[in-house]
């Protein structure tokens, strides 16, 4: 089952376009940004709906607070900045002003993970999934490509309550020709019997590539896109782990607390399974080109293949 070449596209572009379409459909949608609208692509919405766009300036905490206030009046509010700031700088505002009162705020954070690249460790969010996942009332989605991003943004707008969507900076190989997307429902992309690879974000495509290579050596890997880290599709994870008995998690995030952590929590309680986590180790990364960083920090299809052989 070779992987179909569907080209590549930038998830944040898909986000910007989806926002504009949502803005046309629903006058209740308001968008905020913190001086990064050209990077997060909320600039597309700002151009078409200037009265419903608020630039908070370089003040992420204030942006999240304003988003919460707007949401109390019935607005559907999207707020964007880089993930390191949305999850880090404004964490407590997300917790107290958005999640605690369950307000209808959608935080779409771009530049997640090390592929943010040249800006270096300060701008590479590798803890965001861990620290957002732990907040009660929060929904956390990590789309794997532009197609799924479009669906996730629309689903977030239709869902009432706080949502955090984490997108990468770079364009990503397209995984889906079309896809069914349901918050909290994992997508099985490839069935297998020897090994389960649970991945999110850009690591989904790398996992498909790895599975294809492993197949050449008669290793049958199941690949599941865990696009929603919270609520986690525990049923899909347990079912697959029981079937294959070996698990790899792959994420562009620290191995601590993110997808690997969530899967480990689920499996150790429900069906302890031999597993290995792929992600950045407990360290900061550095400046560099995205592909070079992925190699240096062990986030490639090759790393998945190597790890698979180690645990099989």
């Amino acid at each position: 089952m070779p992987i179909k070449d569907l080209g590549s596209a930038a998830p944040r572009e898909a986000y910007g376009k989806a926002l504009v379409e949502l803005g046309r459909e629903n006058p209740n949608i308001v968008v905020l940004d913190a001086d990064l609208s050209c990077s997060t692509k909320t600039s597309l919405f700002a151009k078409e709906f200037p009265k419903r766009f608020i630039n908070a300036g370089v003040a992420e905490q204030d942006m999240i607070g304003m988003a919460a206030g707007l949401a109390t009046t019935g607005k559907i509010v999207f707020a964007s900045t880089f993930s390191c700031f949305a999850s880090g700088r404004a964490w407590e505002q997300v917790r107290v002003s958005v999640a605690y009162p369950r307000l209808n705020v959608k935080i779409v954070a771009t530049h997640g993970g090390i592929t943010t690249g040249e800006d270096g460790a300060t701008h590479q969010a590798i803890e965001d999934l861990a620290i957002i996942r732990v907040i009660p009332n929060m929904t956390l989605i990590v789309p794997s490509d532009a197609v799924l991003t479009d669906k996730a943004v629309r689903a977030a707008a239709a869902y009432h309550g706080p949502v955090f969507i984490r997108l990468p900076r770079a364009g990503t190989p397209t995984v889906y020709e079309n896809c069914d997307f349901k918050i909290g429902k994992a997508n099985v992309l490839r069935e297998g019997k020897d090994l389960s690879i649970f991945a999110c974000g850009i690591m989904v495509y790398a996992s498909l590539v790895a599975a294809e290579e492993l197949q050449k050596e008669n290793i049958s890997a199941e690949v599941i896109d865990i696009h929603t880290l919270k609520p986690l599709d525990k049923e899909a994870i347990i079912k697959s782990a029981k079937k294959t008995g070996k698990v790899i998690t792959a994420e562009e995030h620290s191995i601590i607390g993110g997808l690997g952590g969530a899967v480990a929590e689920t499996l150790s309680e429900n069906c302890p399974t031999r597993m290995a986590r792929i992600g950045t180790r407990d360290m900061f990364a550095e400046s560099g080109k995205a592909p070079d960083l992925l190699i240096k920090y062990g986030l490639t299809a090759k790393d998945i293949i190597k790890t698979a052989k180690q645990i099989l």
């Binding site: 908070a56 905490q61 304003m66 707007l70 107290v96």
Partner: protein, 273 residues
Amino acid sequence: MKLSVKEIEAKAKQIRYSAIEMICEAASGHPGGSLSVSDILAVLYFHTMNYKPDRPEWIERDRFVLSKGHAAPALYSVLAHAGFYSTKILKNLRQVGSPLQGHPDMMALPGIEMSTGSLGQGLSAAVGIALAARIDSLKYRVYCVIGDGESQEGQIWEAAMSAGHHKLDNLCVIMDHNNLQIDGKVEEIKTISPIADKWKAFNFNVISADGHNIKALIDAFDKAEKQKGKPTIIIADTVKGKGVSFMENVNKFHGSAPTGEQITCALGELKCQ
């Protein structure tokens, strides 16, 4: 709801009494700041603000955000006395299962416009609400009480910059300037002076008022409403613990409930006023 000065003074007494009563019953809570803010709340809810207690979601209502959320007992009191719910609810403050959370929870009670408690956050929400009014071309006004100690939070100034930038003349901030914070005097811990100049520099209309003089507060709110093209801050000079002699200006009562004989004393003083 527009009551006379005398009637508002009577309401302020009820607010104080109910606030201290619930704090005593809970043996927990923040009496000092609840007492310093009571007159401000009485004027807002019984003179200045438009709202319908039987329709708390009425879209054109004026909004109030208590950014210094630890004064929750005063907010719970004023909302009950304004008719959002029965005064009978004013029990079980800070107890398991009660809607009267230690800090205001908008999901728990009608009339609470924003969950607050982590200092600095409420003002940004108030700015967001004021922006929503503008987007929707609605005339409602937004009132937000902040503390003087709270003004040491950076987010207050981020929000102030937003309000000034957007010329939010539908926003009125009130600083409950009682000069004390948990560890001591604001002036000694970390001064926020010069207060008026700071807010002027953030493009606010600044009004100073005696925060315990009902007539002065009414005038200040009326003036704020007339201000066009910029937000207003009313710097309300208050006394922490106002109304209970042994609590006045004593920072120990920032976050400690009266105990033993103090309870009888405090409630007695508030009843007799």
